[in-house]
Structure formats: C-alpha cells, structure tokens
Amino acid sequence: MKTAEKPFQFFTASYLTQVGIEKGLNLAGLLQGLEKCSEASIFYHTFQSLDRHHFLTEGFSNDFAQWVLAACNRPGLAEALGGLDIRDYLSVADLRGDLRRIVGEYCDAHTQESQQAAFEPFYFCASIEVTAPLGFEAKTLEEFRHGVARLSHASLYYHFISSRLRIHLRSNDFSIWLSEGLGMSALAQRLDQIDIYTNTLEGVRARMLALIDRS
C-alpha cells in the first residue's frame, strides 16, 4: 500500500454568524445589498448555505434563490440564482459578479416587480470561520478512508466544499491529497465529481467511501 510523504491532516471548522447592516426589503434592495455586502456575506449565503442546509437535496441551492422564491414568489429568478454552481467559482468576487448580473438583469426587465415588498426582509449575514485540528491524520488510503468515515458534517464540508475557495483550484482538499500524495488522480477526479447539490453531506460521504472501496 502506498504511503504519502505528507500526511493528510483532518481539520474541522465551525462558523459563527455575524448579522450585517444591509437588508433587502424587495428585489431592488437585494441587488443593492449584493453590491455593498462583504465577501464574507456572499460566502455565507452561497457556500455556507449549502453546509447549513446539507440535509436538503431538492430545490435548495443558496439563500438568495430560496428568498426570491419564498419571500418574493419569483420562481424564474429563483431558478436562475439556484442554477449557479459554487464549484465553478474560484473567487467570491466572481460569484458576486454573476449574482449581481442575474438579479440586475431581472430588475431592469421587471421594474415594478423589483419594487414590490417581500413577505419578509433578506438579512445579509456573514460567516466567521474558526478551524481546529481533529488530532488524526492519514498517510495511506486505508487511513484516509477511516478518517473520512469518522468526520463530522462540518469537517466534511470544510475539506470538500469550502476548500475550493481556499486552494483556488477547481478541486477540493481530499482530491488534491489523493492526487498529489498517493498519485491516485482517477479516484481524485471521481471524488470531485460527486454532486453536492443532489446529495446530503451524509450521501456525499457514503459515495466517497464507496469510490474509495472500489479503487
């Protein structure tokens, strides 16, 4: 069994929510907030939203899409926002750009609707991330599998989803290590292809373990 020179260090992350000062009372307000809010806020309502709602597999992709649907009753716009896949973004700035473009185009084309009051306001929040080592590591695929099997949801999310922004690659911590540490590029790629929108985090883990077992 191949042993990696550099072991995989398992971490966990915990998030504290900070409530911002921006608030959207209608779609125009949402657009204004998207322009002004911090990057941490965009992260919170997209990347982190997926973690907070990881147990939902149908029709929930990010907070903006959910609010547009539930509070503004605009299913078309909600689908457009929900169609954004965070795996396509290496920076929050790019993601913000697309969110602004989609909401902006809708507001331009539907001036009256964009001013209609929502059922409830959209509160822009932000995530404060705190990480901690879990105290175990992996040098072999077997140890890696054992580690993945005992990770909390927060830890899985940290290594598999939010890591994309940290490493600025279209990949994740697990795949990078499997590829670079163990030379298992094919497995790394298969892991990266797991659909995080139609699986719960528990489903992601099960799929991951199955792929490891098969390799």
Partner: protein, 414 residues
C-alpha cells in the same frame, strides 16, 4: 377541560457530553472537544437574572455544565434585586418588545442602583464575560480598562423597542465587544458586531426525549383523544398573540374535508387573568365540539406535552407574533410536519416546503394542513428534514459549539 398531572418527584439527572452520542454521533462530540482544546482553563463568566424558570435559565442550566466538561473554567452568577427592580425590568422587557412604557419617577436610577449593588457584590475578571438580557446590562461598568471580552446576549426581540427605554440602555450595550441575538429579525443597527446564536432545546430533557409508544397512548387516552384519527395540535399559552381562536377557525375549515381532532394545550390560564379570558374565548369558539380538546396544563407537564406532540399528526403554530418559537423546534425534533405562521424566528426554522409549511392567514393555515393530510409522504419528508435542521442548528450541542466559536473568534482577534 381535563385534569392536570401531578408534579414530578425525582430530581433531574446529570447529563454528560457522551450522553448525546447516541443521538448525534461520536464525531459531533469529538468536534466539540477539538474546538474546546485551545480554550482549556480559559475563564468564562455568565450572568443573568434568574437561576430557575424561563428559557435563559433553562439553557444555562445545560450549557454551563457542558462547557465545564469541555475544560473551560466557567462560572454562572445570578444578579439579585428587590421587587421594585424586577417590576422595572419587567416594564423594560415589555417596552423593548414594542409595548408602551410610562416612565415612572426614579425608574432608571433604581435600575442602575441595583446593577451597581450587584457589581459591588460580584466578582469579575474572567477572560470572557457574557451578560444575558437587559436586567444586568449596566454591569459592564465592572469592566476595568476595556480588559477581557464582554458580550451582551440579548434573548428578546429588539427590532421595535420603545425609544425611551432603548435610549437609556443603548449606551451600555455599545460598551460591549459584541451583541448576540437569536434571529436576524431581532437585531438593531448597532456600532458593535452582532452575532447570531439560535436558542435551543435539549434532546435529553423530559420534553424532548424519546417516549415509549405505550406511554404516548396512555396520555392521549387520558385526555379523551382518539389515537386512531388525525390529531392537529398547537402547544402554547392561552394568549391572543398565539391566535388560538384562529386555530379553531382553521380547524373548522379542515374538518369539512377530514375527520380529525384539534388539541390546544398550554398553560397560563390559571395564574394569568388574561390567559383565563382567552381560554374562555377559545371555549366559546370551540362550542360543544367533542373533537376540540382544550388542555390547560401546569408547568410540570413536560412529559405530557412531549407525548401530545409525539401523538400528533400535524403541529400548528399559528402565532400572530412570536419570539423564536421553541415549540416549533420541539415539534420538528420529533419529526412532525409543522404548519406555522411566518413571524418572528419561525421562518428560520420552518424553511417553506423544505422543513415545514408557512402560512399567513386562517385560510392559508387550513389549506396547508389539508395538503399535508392528503399527502402523508410529503408530510413525513418535511418532518424528517425538519428533524435534521434542528439536529444541526437548534440543539444545546449546537449552542455549545456557537459559544466555543465565539470565544475562539474573540481570542484570535484580541
């Protein structure tokens, strides 16, 4: 109206972190220990105004031992005061919720005098000091030279406060390093960071622990409820803001389509004159319908409430105004489909069509109930997802994690 159960005889058992493993998994508890590792022997002081009764004391009674078990050097102090102080703080409480406030002579001076008395009596100097709610807010005067980390934990809705009371309290709040609120809706635009920590339930308490089906059945039958027909339940005080009459009206609509029963269970009618009036209004609205069960329960009915929730087909929370709505949390934890009003902290818990259904009127409430009764598979799925939502965000363990994260954040930014 049915007789109340007798008070409990045995003291509550001591809970340890590992007791949560069967419910949450070993990895979640290991994660708490990993987060707490850099905080070993760090000193924390929690201060509030009561050690028993009320949601804050209930949370602290669990949170403090758990943080202690995780290695933090934590103490919990309770301020003292005379009747005059607590009358003033009750008036402040109502005013901060948006109610009227008639300034009485010396109110503010008396409030500050009691805070000063407590400041002189108590010991401060912990690395992290968390002051809960407005009653002890002026204890921030005890903070020497901006040392340590002081956070104000506000458990109430501050979105529409009475301006006189808020103008008096705000300067004290602004001297903290941050404020914690229970919902984004409850915050204000403050010049200090505002954090979000949700209220929580404890899955190991009598109100939320798993029950034997035989016990559930016995409770239901004791109250004359038919376990074979759908049971719609709202658990809440007999209070107009909970709109129990609206629930009866929604039930009447549902009954045109389904043979079902309504249970309105809660307390407050015995010791609250208005509660008695509201109960009478509900009784009038219910008429002689044998399928409407009005249960006025005493405060020690946790197991009975748990059983009623477990036996229910759908849980309703048709409030006109609401705090966070922990009765919704309890229902979701029991995997019950919930139909609730989109007010206060409810939309945070009931994500429409994902963890429950939201409604904005009597007719809407009735329609959502009919929809769930017609689609039991959807109802079950909402219940399952609601349970997961609570598991992740609204349990005492999540609350513990939030405090650990807050302390780590403050530490790293000092």
């Amino acid at each position: 109206m049915t007789d109340a159960p007798t008070p409990p005889q045995s003291p509550p058992r001591v809970i340890h972190l590992d007791d949560y493993i069967p419910l949450l998994g070993a990895e979640e508890i290991a994660e708490l220990r990993a987060l707490a590792s850099p905080l070993q022997q760090r000193t924390v002081q929690m201060v509030n105004s009561t050690s028993v009764g009320g949601g804050v004391a209930e949370i602290l009674n669990r949170l403090v031992p758990l943080l202690k078990e995780l290695g933090l050097d934590i103490r919990w102090d309770v301020i003292t005061g005379g009747n005059d102080f607590f009358e003033i703080t009750k008036a402040f409480h109502n005013a901060l919720h948006g109610g009227p406030y008639e300034e009485r002579h010396h109110d503010f001076e008396t409030f500050l005098a009691y805070n000063e008395q407590n400041r002189a009596r108590m010991q401060f100097g912990a690395e992290f000091t968390v002051i809960h709610d407005p009653q002890p807010v002026a204890l921030v005067n005890a903070r020497p030279n901006h040392s340590g980390h002081w956070v104000w934990r506000c458990h109430i809705d501050l979105s529409r406060p009475n301006p006189t009371v808020w103008k008096f309290l705000e300067p004290y709040v602004l001297r903290y390093d941050g404020a914690i609120f229970s919902s984004p809706e409850f915050t204000r635009q403050l010049a200090i960071p505002q954090f979000l920590i949700f209220p929580c339930i404890d899955p190991l308490t009598e109100k939320n622990q798993p029950l034997e089906p035989e016990f559930v059945k016995s409770v239901v039958e004791r109250y004359g409820i038919d376990p074979k027909r759908p049971i719609l339940t709202q658990i809440s005080r007999f209070d107009r803001l909970k709109d129990p009459v609206g629930v009866v009206r929604a039930f009447r609509i549902v009954r045109r389509y389904f043979d079902c029963q309504l249970v309105l269970a809660g307390g407050g009618a015995a010791d609250d004159p208005e509660g008695g009036v509201v109960l009478e209004e509900v009784r009038q609205a219910a008429g002689n319908d044998p399928d409407v069960h009005l249960l006025n329960l005493p405060p020690w009915s946790a197991l009975e409430i748990n059983a009623l929730q477990c036996a229910s087909t759908i849980i309703i929370q048709k409030s006109l105004r609401e705090g966070f709505g922990l009765t919704v949390t309890e229902a979701l934890w029991k995997k019950k489909p919930v139909v609730a009003s989109a007010v206060g902290g409810i939309p945070t818990q009931v994500i429409h069509k994902h963890t429950g259904l939201l409604a904005h009127s009597v007719e809407g409430t009735a329609y959502q109930i009919r929809y769930l009764l017609s689609n039991p598979a959807i109802a079950a799925k909402l219940g399952e997802q609601g349970h997961e939502h609570v598991r992740e965000h609204f349990l005492i363990t999540s609350n513990t994690k939030s405090y650990l994260t807050l302390f780590l954040h403050l530490l790293r930014h000092s």
